[in-house]
């Protein structure tokens, strides 16, 4: 098993005592061309890893902001296949680690093995599938292990100790801790419960833990970065993209980057 590029990013940040900034954007919203530009912008603004959302008709883990972005991307004809092509094109311009966040059915329909091979060839570094718990992912885990693609699984505030062990074992690259019981873009609650949960997970593993769902301001990003190894910001950035002011996006990204330490 080769070490994934994502794992190396976290190791390098840890040695510099820094935390990862992981922005999420929906591929193909507002267009594939704009997504390419945005990835470069994200890198220029200090992103360590970029998450690319793959549009799906029934995104049951997502709130209204990402649901609508998904609908717009689908209207543009964007599919899992076209997102893989997008990554291939991007690889001529950037080496920033790219993680696909997709629902399972597009992957299942594409064929798991073909998907892992094509994604690896194109230059995808990791995959997050919110509706594929490790319990149902044995073949996916086996296939990604053979490549250097990181299989990133999620933990939630409701996860029991048994679940934490299962998810920790299956995860490569980092563990995605979902900040709340809820969907993307919900209101974050900074009451100490996230820190407590992360400490629980740390008792079991030294794998890196990034926190996502509901982080929408630089202040929240800073608070979350202090208790984790990385911060994922999705809906708030997708909203800025929708407002479509290049300057506004850049300004927001730089503030987030500065806050995450």
């Amino acid at each position: 098993m080769k070490e994934s590029k994502i794992t190396k990013v976290f190791e390098s940040l840890r040695s510099q005592n820094k935390k990862a900034f992981i922005p999420y954007i929906m591929a193909g919203d507002p267009s594939i061309e704009k997504t390419k530009e945005l990835v470069i912008t994200l890198e220029e603004c200090g992103a360590d890893i970029v998450e690319l959302g793959v549009p799906f008709t029934d995104p049951l883990a997502d709130g209204p902001t990402i649901q609508r972005a998904s609908e717009r991307a689908l209207k543009n004809g964007v599919t899992l296949k076209s997102v893989i092509s997008l990554v291939r094109d991007l690889r001529t311009r950037t080496k920033i680690p790219l993680v696909l966040m997709t629902y399972y059915n597009p992957v299942f329909k594409y064929g798991e093995e073909r998907f892992v091979n094509d994604a690896k060839d194109a230059g995808v570094d990791g995959v997050i599938i919110p509706d594929l718990p490790p319990d149902e992912a044995s073949s996916f885990i086996r296939l990604t292990k053979k490549s250097d693609i990181a299989s990133i699984f999620l933990l939630a505030p409701t996860s029991t100790e048994d679940r934490i062990k299962i998810v920790v074992k299956a995860s490569r690259g980092f563990i995605y801790y979902v900040s709340m019981t809820g969907i993307t873009g919900s209101q974050l609650l900074l009451d100490g419960s996230i820190e407590k949960s992360i400490n629980n997970i740390r008792r079991i593993t030294d794998k890196s833990i990034a926190v996502g769902f509901g982080v929408s301001t630089p202040e929240e990003a800073e608070a979350v970065s202090r208790i984790s190894d990385g911060v994922i910001v999705g809906s708030a950035i997708v909203k800025k993209v929708q407002e479509n002011s290049d300057e506004g996006i850049r300004d927001f990204l730089l503030k987030l980057r500065e806050a995450i330490k």
Binding site: D58, L60, D135, L155, T158
Partner: protein, 391 residues
């Protein structure tokens, strides 16, 4: 078979947040099956509240018109709230109470499951919210008002196709958010394990009664069972008790405006294997794995996917699946109303449409049981609209 699977179908494809709740639910459901007090309470309410057993009625005039097999109707339309949905909703409401939940939520298409859950929640004393697509709210406005009368908040779902599948997405999102206090009363044999098995078990009372009743009436088992299949709970409820017997079974999907038009909900005629809303099963989808829009005159069958035990029963050849079009269902709806004085739900009319095709091909000593899964009062306004009549 792997736990939670029917052959290659089933499983538990949900976000991690829900995994512990599903395990807890599975545990509670398995315990309740063996718990004499729970079973006693359920049986008591089935008898005194739902009005079970529902009648098995020999539709003589309907049968004579078809000049073939004898057609019996399992009268789930006579169950309290007017459809089989209450069998499951009440069972899950009792279970939710045992789990210590304060609130239940449900999705609904035709509104029958929403009404049933609202009823179960009122009976047991739980708060209840129901998600319903705005498209379905229009065609089932009577049921929307019924739910409101029962003290339930009906939450409009205006994303996606604005029908049942989107109501399920919203319910899953709500459940993910409020999982600690809320139980999701899924209305059919669908979704993540244990729902497909649990809902089937709560519905299997239909088949258990039908077996006793037909033995009493005819001294033998039937030759055919026919049921409509949306998610597939009334069909599983009838079929399950007869799976080991020499009884042929037919599931009827919604053929909509015809398979060739693409406007239908016949998953076996136009679908393929996929993973959707918690389980691996048949699904109407495009080549990229996105879920296709569906059409049926009946809101309860207007759904892109089907409970995972059905494709298993299809693959093993145990159950045959066919479809009835909107027009065939509407014709059956009117025929039963006129010949028997029973207005069936448009969903159940799909099963009747198949009986209308099959019975004439059989000799007079053959017996068919059709699951009359619900009554048609809720559809009267919609049917009037189709006929261009303003009420």
């Amino acid at each position: 078979m792997t736990k939670g699977y029917f052959g290659q179908y089933g499983g538990r494809f949900v976000p991690e947040t829900l995994m512990p709740a599903l395990m807890e639910l599975e545990d509670a459901y398995l315990k309740s099956k063996k718990d004499k007090d729970f079973q006693k309470e359920l049986a008591h309410l089935q008898r005194t509240y739902i009005g079970r057993p529902t009648a098995l009625y020999y539709a003589k005039r309907f049968s004579e018109l078809l000049r073939g097999a004898k057609v019996y109707l399992k009268r789930e339309d006579l169950a309290h709230t007017g459809a089989h949905k209450i069998n499951n909703a009440l069972g899950q409401a009792l279970l939710a109470k045992r789990l210590g939940k304060k609130r239940v939520i449900a999705e609904t298409g035709a509104g029958q499951h929403g009404v049933a859950t609202a009823t179960g929640a009122a009976l047991v004393g739980l708060d209840c919210d129901v998600y319903m697509g705005t498209e379905d709210m229009k065609r089932q406005s009577l049921n929307v008002f019924r739910m409101r009368l029962l003290g339930v908040r009906v939450i409009e779902v205006s994303v996606g196709s604005k029908t049942l599948k989107d109501a399920i997405n919203e319910s899953l999102r709500d459940w993910t958010t409020n999982v600690r206090t809320t139980h999701y009363v899924l209305g059919t044999v669908f979704g993540p394990h244990p729902f497909p098995s649990m809902v089937r078990d709560f519905q299997s009372v239909i088949g258990k009664e039908a077996r006793k009743q037909i033995l009493g009436a005819e001294g033998r088992l039937p030759d055919y069972l026919i049921a409509c299949v949306g998610g597939g709970s009334n069909a599983m409820g009838l079929f399950h008790e007869f799976l080991d017997d020499a009884v042929e079974m037919i599931g009827v999907e919604a053929g909509g405006k015809g398979i060739e038009t693409g406007e239908h909900a016949a998953r076996f005629a136009g679908g393929s294997i996929g993973v959707f809303q918690g389980c691996k099963t048949y699904l109407l989808q495009d080549d990229d794995g996105n879920v296709l829009g569906t059409h049926s005159v009946s809101a309860g069958l207007d759904y892109a996917s089907i409970g995972p035990q059905h494709p298993y029963l299809k693959d093993t050849g145990r159950v045959k699946y066919t479809y009835a079009t909107d027009d065939e269902a509407l014709a059956a709806f009117e025929l039963l109303s006129r010949k028997e004085g029973i207005i069936p739900a448009l969903e159940s009319a799909h099963a009747l449409a198949e009986a209308i095709k099959l019975a004439p091909k059989l000799s007079g000593d053959k017996i068919i049981i059709v699951n009359l899964s619900g009554r048609g009062d809720k559809d009267v306004q919609h049917v009037a609209g189709i006929k261009g009549i303003e009420l």
